[in-house]
Symmetry: C2
């Protein structure tokens, strides 16, 4: 049974709809299965979760990305770049400028969720409820240290090797600042730490009190030569691509321009996350450009 069909059945039950006539028929249909049996059916898992948390393809993708990150960082350490890979505040994309490295020590800046760790425990709880979001459940998850959040495949070894080069790994997450202790414990128990608040861990509200990460990135870049950014969403790299009013395809085009497109795998490293985030947006006409709306089948 598909997820949609499951939801449909639930809706029929919720609606108390037990006398639906069979299509093209006035014959009274057989009674439906008992409610208990139907509710006992296991919820379906969204395809994005199957791919990211349960598939060979999902694991291979992140192993590949962390390997590329490690190689890039090793090369940057051998040959110190002039600039960090962090955009200057107020820079415009066509003529983007970056924060200078000077003689600052090396660092990489990573997002936490679905970048360094996978929130499998939380997503299991959400999938079991058949929902994509549930604030009380998410708060319960983020406010306590968790062991059901494994490292993203490839992250532990790559971060170990990167730190061995003398590069500091700094987490910049949008979990709220009051969850710092729990977030640090969760990252450390996954094996991707150390993560120490305001040293190697920055959260939403830190530095400038804003939800965008640019202020925290600027603060980190004032103390470090940031040779790589790692994340699963555009906001982990620059707030520019999260501006309101950008349609999905405008945002996609901006991420592919010479300036930004030239950074992917070249200082900016993206982990695929088809489970949640601004990348999962858009109606049919917002996702598919007019020239690709083929519909000649049948």
């Amino acid at each position: 049974m598909t997820q949609a069909a499951g939801a449909a059945l639930s809706a029929l039950l919720l609606a108390g709809c037990v006398t639906a006539p069979a299509p093209d028929s006035l014959v009274v249909p057989p009674p439906p299965e008992p409610v208990a049996e139907m509710q006992a059916k296991e919820p379906e898992v969204p395809g994005g979760m199957q791919w990211l948390y349960g598939s060979a393809e999902g694991a291979s993708s992140s192993i590949q990305t962390y390997r590329a990150l490690e190689r890039f960082v090793a090369a940057a350490v051998r040959n110190r770049p002039r600039d960090s890979v962090i955009l200057q505040e107020g820079t415009s994309l066509p003529s983007a400028s970056f924060v200078p490295c000077g003689k600052k020590p090396f660092a990489i800046v990573l997002d936490a969720d679905e970048t360094a760790i996978q929130n499998q425990g939380l997503e299991y709880a959400l999938a079991a409820r058949g929902v994509s979001s549930d604030r009380p459940v998410m708060n319960a998850w983020q406010n306590a240290p968790q062991t059901a959040a494994p490292a993203v495949p490839g992250a532990v070894e790559a971060l170990r090797n990167i730190r061995a080069l003398g590069v500091t790994a700094i987490f910049n997450t949008n979990r709220d600042s009051p969850t710092a202790a729990a977030t640090s414990a969760t990252l450390n128990s996954a094996g991707v730490g150390p993560a120490e608040h305001l040293k190697t861990l920055f959260l939403r509200g830190d530095v400038d009190g804003k939800s965008g990460k640019d202020g925290r990135r600027g603060h980190i870049a004032s103390n470090y030569c940031v040779i790589a950014l790692v994340g699963d969403q555009m906001g982990d790299f620059t707030d520019v691509l999260n501006e309101r009013g950008l349609s999905p395809l405008e945002r996609r085009r901006l991420a592919s321009t010479a300036t930004i497109g030239g950074l992917w795998g070249n200082g900016w490293f993206l982990l695929s996350n088809p489970v949640y985030g601004p990348g999962l947006r858009g109606s049919l006409d917002e996702v598919f450009a007019p020239e690709y709306r083929w519909n000649k089948g049948n």
Copy 2:
């Protein structure tokens, strides 16, 4: 309205359920919206399609992977490897052996669908129908040259640069052999060709008549030093990971072992595809290992 809610509404309509009592009430509810208006609602787009075809994150992910491929290929051309990245027939994973390169000319072997091109026209047609698969629609799509199948972001430039190094790009797809002319035209019009049947394009049924791609890979490796494999599913790299009876997590573990895990981004390059394929499989308990089944929320 969520996809599930949309399906639920449709189900209520299909079931002719128009007298559902409001929860906790015996009051007759107001009549539902007219059927025509509800059916006019646009179908929702699966999250995987939003991410892969319509998001900045999806485009960034493939640009990054093609950049890594191009760098790897350039290094291999400068320093000829001893072996192809194609497993010897009948090799076992723990002690995997690869086909020797000898003095054979260089090639890379790519899958076509969601690796070199995106089947946006087809997926638009399926999403518009609210289905994930429809054989007649898929046949109509594959049996004619299509222009609604853009190149995967990053593929055109990378393939141009790779061919400029004297490396042959060969497509190994599981579209059926009789679609060779249409498939070749579709690849060429997307700008990722040339694709010439039995020279730079192999399809299901070619070489050994099998649906697995190992036979075709072996044939190509007998004529070329294959320095990279590119695909979106395990079958684009080895049939071993598609053996029946492998659970999703067993398959995931095998792809992460030293032998196979060491190849990701290191000869084997995976494009993320959360839209279809063997990676989108599994119940809650097949996707989430017991230690990650947190459910303490609420």
